[in-house]
Amino acid sequence: MDTTQLLKGVLDAAVLAVLDDADGYGYDVVRRLRAAGLEGVGDASVYGTLRRLYAGGSLTTYVVPSDEGPHRKYYGINAHGRATLETQRAEWHEFSSAMTALLLTEGEAR
């Protein structure tokens, strides 16, 4: 199964969930997604998603100066983002339950 294709559909929810945990900058979000088990997530996909969620009004952003390099642009989730996350969480549970049930049935049937 092509996990990159799967990821595309759920990346918004994954990113929102990570930021719901704590604010983070681009690569920090990538790292936390990978640590959570989404190894195949692409750096650029995450950055693009962050930008789109921000443009869509789900995220806030602020710049933190860094002593050892360029400044860091941090993202944080806002109320709108949390509402979106709740919706997606519910959708995912419904979808994943259905998929799990479907796949288990097939597996048992084999």
Binding site: L11, Y25, G26, Y27, V30, R31, G42, D43, A44, S45, V46, Y47, G48, T49, R51, R52, Y54, A55, S66, E68, G69, P70, H71, R72, K73
Partner: protein, 356 residues
């Protein structure tokens, strides 16, 4: 962290990515790639932690070709794919055109790299604030170029401000034109825009040397003025030295006391007033004029009475050295001169009535 040792291949990769986003509006590109270098650097450092030397990490192998990276960025961000005509379908001209295009791309990516720096907004805002200064400077440079050709300016060019009224008028017109074009109040026809570009480029190159030249020219003028001001404006001079006092002898060679001297226009001839200090002898000479019937000073009545700082004591009230007994007639340079022979009665008709 090894952030400091990596900038070269990381920033090259980042600017390649930006180049592949160049068809998007600038604010989108900034949004998408703000912090790209920092993220890449950190990702590379992570990869190096597992694989070894950070500088040896192949960015293209790790993140894919910059073009793919850019495509992934814009897809995830929900932005349109690069338009085909922008990507590969540009008209392919001759080799020169291609190399010019690749040069333009280099310039573009260099500019983008610069505009992505932290200090860039500050510099940009400053430059924007200084734009009117540049418009005026451009008009001024143009004026001086015209002045060289037409011989305007009323003297050596470049000048800060021309001395002749016509030159001044031309300067004002050119500066006004430059400012109005800069503000966008006046517009050149599209076909003539390149003239403006060329003029601006030339002006930018010439401005600094021209300013320096104009600045030094003005210094020359100032020195000239100082010299002309140093020329004697009053007093009596002999051999370039100021004359301190005058002594009048009559035809018989006898000294005349209180002789008043006028020039051919009837103006009083006066020596330089005030104290004369001789640094060699450390002696100051003071002068005192005679007074007329109503008490006014008469500075052209000679010899002026005088004394030196040796001959008196300091007077706190007057702020000068005064002799105890007041001023006295000065010593004569010579007691008397040889008498002049009486004018010859028969010498000419003019002198007839002067005969005794």
């Amino acid at each position: 962290m090894s952030a400091a040792v990596l900038p070269d291949h990381v920033s090259a990769y980042a600017s390649e990515v930006r180049r592949h986003l160049a068809d998007l509006p600038h604010e989108h590109v900034d949004d998408l790639t703000d912090g790209l270098e920092a993220d890449l650097t950190e990702a590379v450092a992570d990869a190096a932690g597992a694989e070894g030397d950070a500088a040896a990490v192949d960015l293209a192998a790790r993140f894919g070709h910059p073009e793919e990276y850019a495509a992934e960025l814009r897809a995830a961000a929900g932005l349109p794919e690069r338009r085909p005509d922008e990507a590969a379908g540009r008209p392919t001209g001759g080799r020169v055109r291609r190399s010019v295009r690749s040069m333009m791309d280099d310039v573009e990516s260099a500019v983008e790299e610069m505009t992505n720096q932290v200090w860039w907004p500050w510099v940009r805002d400053l430059a924007l604030a200084l734009r009117p200064v540049w418009w005026v400077a451009r008009g001024w440079v143009l004026f001086n170029c015209v002045a060289v050709v037409l011989g305007l300016g009323g003297g050596p060019v470049p000048v800060v401000l021309p001395a002749d009224p016509f030159g001044l008028l031309v300067l004002v017109v050119l500066v006004l034109t430059s400012v109005q074009l800069g503000r966008g109040e006046w517009r050149l026809p599209a076909r003539a825009r390149w003239v403006m570009v060329v003029v601006s480029a030339v002006a930018a190159v010439v401005l600094l040397p021209m300013l320096v030249a104009a600045g030094s020219a003005r210094t020359d003028v100032r020195i000239e003025e100082i010299y002309s001001q140093a020329s004697p404006d009053d007093g009596v001079y002999r051999d370039g030295e100021p004359v301190r006092n005058l002594f009048v002898y009559d035809a018989d060679g006898e000294p005349v006391d209180g002789a008043r001297i006028l020039d051919d226009a009837g103006r009083p001839v006066e020596v330089e007033r005030g104290e004369g200090y001789d640094p060699e002898t450390d002696v100051t000479t003071y002068l005192e004029p005679r007074l007329d019937a109503s008490g006014r000073e008469v500075w052209n009545a000679y010899p002026l009475w005088s004394w030196t700082s040796d001959e008196g004591t300091w007077d706190d009230d007057l702020g000068i050295v005064r002799p105890e007994e007041g001023a006295a007639p000065p010593a004569l340079p010579v007691p008397r001169l040889a008498p002049l022979p009486a004018p010859d009665v028969d010498a000419g008709d003019d002198s007839g009535d002067e005969a005794p």
